[in-house]
Amino acid sequence: MDSEKIFNALNQIKLSIDQHKDEIEKLDQEIGDGDHIFNIQRGIKESLDLKDELSGQAPDEVLKKIGIKIMTTVGGSSGALFATLLMGMSKKYNDELSDQKNIAVMFTEGVEAMKKRGKSDLGEKTMLDVLIPVSNELQKSSDQEDIKRIAEKIKAAAKKGMLSTKNLIATKGRASFLGERAKGHIDPGARSSQLAIDAICNTIINT
């Protein structure tokens, strides 16, 4: 892990989110209020703008600074939550571990911090329905050597989690005001999170 790899992954996330912009916007208009895609795109742009400044810095420092940038430029729920994820991850960075173990420990910490910040958990029709299964799969697979195979498993866990939001009733966030009417719609935050995880996994699988 180094700053270049982090920004490379971020660039892949940008491409994927941009490609699915209309879909995310539509999902959010169905059960939210339509601001999610703009917040996500603003966050990615602001983060990518840090590339030169953070070039060569330690990965935990890079994640922390991207987290602070997102916290101070994005707003909304997604800004607070993604910032909390990245700042949480940065706290557990340990380069003595293998990459897969290191990432598993960091991601687990980040997701726990998000759960606390959002007072939310699995099954509430949020981005956590993607990120918690990903965190669990990371922990389970981190003993394995084959990182491409781990990436495939993570992709599958993220997709399954994203699809699971379709038939849930939201109990957190603006979709919770809809009650039963939110059923049948995939959560936009779950979709954008899954796209991001997918993009990161693809960079691992394709290298």
Partner: protein, 330 residues
């Protein structure tokens, strides 16, 4: 979409700058991080009231910065909660030694960002969470009721109490009390259009209304065919009064709020319909407010807010206020 725009990314900054220039006798606008604060520091130490939320609800909250109401307001992007650094900067700018009182509408993003802002401060602080929207069921399994048009009533009355030099705890408790005495519900005829999106947030038929709508155009209780004004008001009042269960001869403040796309003429018609219902129930409308105070950009529709009054709420509603959007007795 027809809107006054130069560059869609500059809307907020240009609007805030204009707001600051137009009301330079009352307030100042600081950019990056963005916040609105009073022009004049208070003469003696007082609890500093800070509110904020997504933009697009103007005059809420910046329009309520000034003597007798807020000390500062933090505007986020359109319909998105402000960021924690805004709250931190505003708090450090306006505190005068008696603590900070945050007034937050009950939306997940606002709650989280205000919490993160509060974590960054080394100042004594409390938070009032406003959740006056009776359209949403309050339960431990949901985010809970939203904060809507009743928020400005909390801001006005607690703002007045803070001017008397009351303590942080007194202000916090009084705010919670006013919130509890307040119920609101709204209905939308059309969607709003977020400038960055360029198209309406939701589709709604020419003859339909969204009943119990939120202030971002997010859905409410149900989608229905439009009815007469009296029928709509009767349904809104039923929900509000069921929630507030006022006594016989209860005095109330009746606030009819427009969402931005409905003429005042219609809002006064709504007011009259609501007042008739209250009259029939021997509930006395002793204070009133009609206008566009908590808007949803260009959405057509409006909301009704009722606050049960007691002597203390009346005293602090009637007291002098001087802000861009609310001004009396000074």
């Amino acid at each position: 979409m027809k809107k006054f725009v130069n560059n869609v990314d500059d809307i907020l900054t240009e609007s805030l700058t204009g707001f600051g220039d137009a009301h330079s006798d009352i307030l100042e606008v600081k950019l990056k991080p963005d916040f609105v604060s009073r022009k004049l520091k208070p003469a003696k130490p007082k609890v500093a009231l800070i509110s904020g939320g997504g933009s697009g609800h103007e005059p809420l909250h910046g329009g309520f910065v000034g003597y007798g109401m807020l000390d500062a307001a933090c505007p986020g992007q359109v319909f998105s909660a402000p960021t924690p650094d805004q709250m931190e900067a505003a708090a450090n700018h306006v505190h005068s030694g008696k603590g900070i009182l945050f007034i937050v509408k009950n939306y997940s993003g606002d709650i989280m960002n205000f919490e993160m802002g509060a974590d960054m401060l080394n100042l004594e602080q409390q938070t009032i969470v406003v959740n006056d929207d009776v359209a949403v069921e309050d339960s431990t399994f949901t985010t809970g009721r939203r904060g809507v048009a009743g928020t400005m009533i909390v801001e006005k009355t607690v703002g007045s109490l803070a001017e008397t030099g009351a303590s942080l705890d007194e202000c916090k408790n009084f705010g919670d009390h006013v919130n509890k005495m307040t119920g609101s519900m709204g209905v939308a005829f059309t969607s709003c259009t977020v400038p960055a999106a360029g198209k309406p947030t939701f589709d709604i038929g020419r003859d339909e209304m969204e009943f119990g709508v939120g202030i971002h155009g997010e859905p409410g209780r149900k989608r229905e065919k439009i009815k007469t004004a009296n029928e709509i008001v009767a349904e809104l009042m039923d929900a509000i009064l069921e929630d507030l269960s006022p006594n016989n001869n209860q005095e109330v403040l009746l606030h009819v709020n427009g969402f931005g796309g409905t003429p005042l003429m219609e809002l006064y018609l709504l007011f009259e319909a609501a007042k008739k219902i209250l009259d029939q129930k021997n509930i006395t409308v002793s204070r009133s407010l009609v206008g566009n105070y908590t808007t949803s950009l260009d959405m057509a529709g409006g909301s009704i807010t009722v606050t049960k009054l007691d002597e203390k709420i009346i005293e602090h509603w009637d007291s002098p206020v001087h802000t861009a959007a609310l001004r009396w007795k000074m």
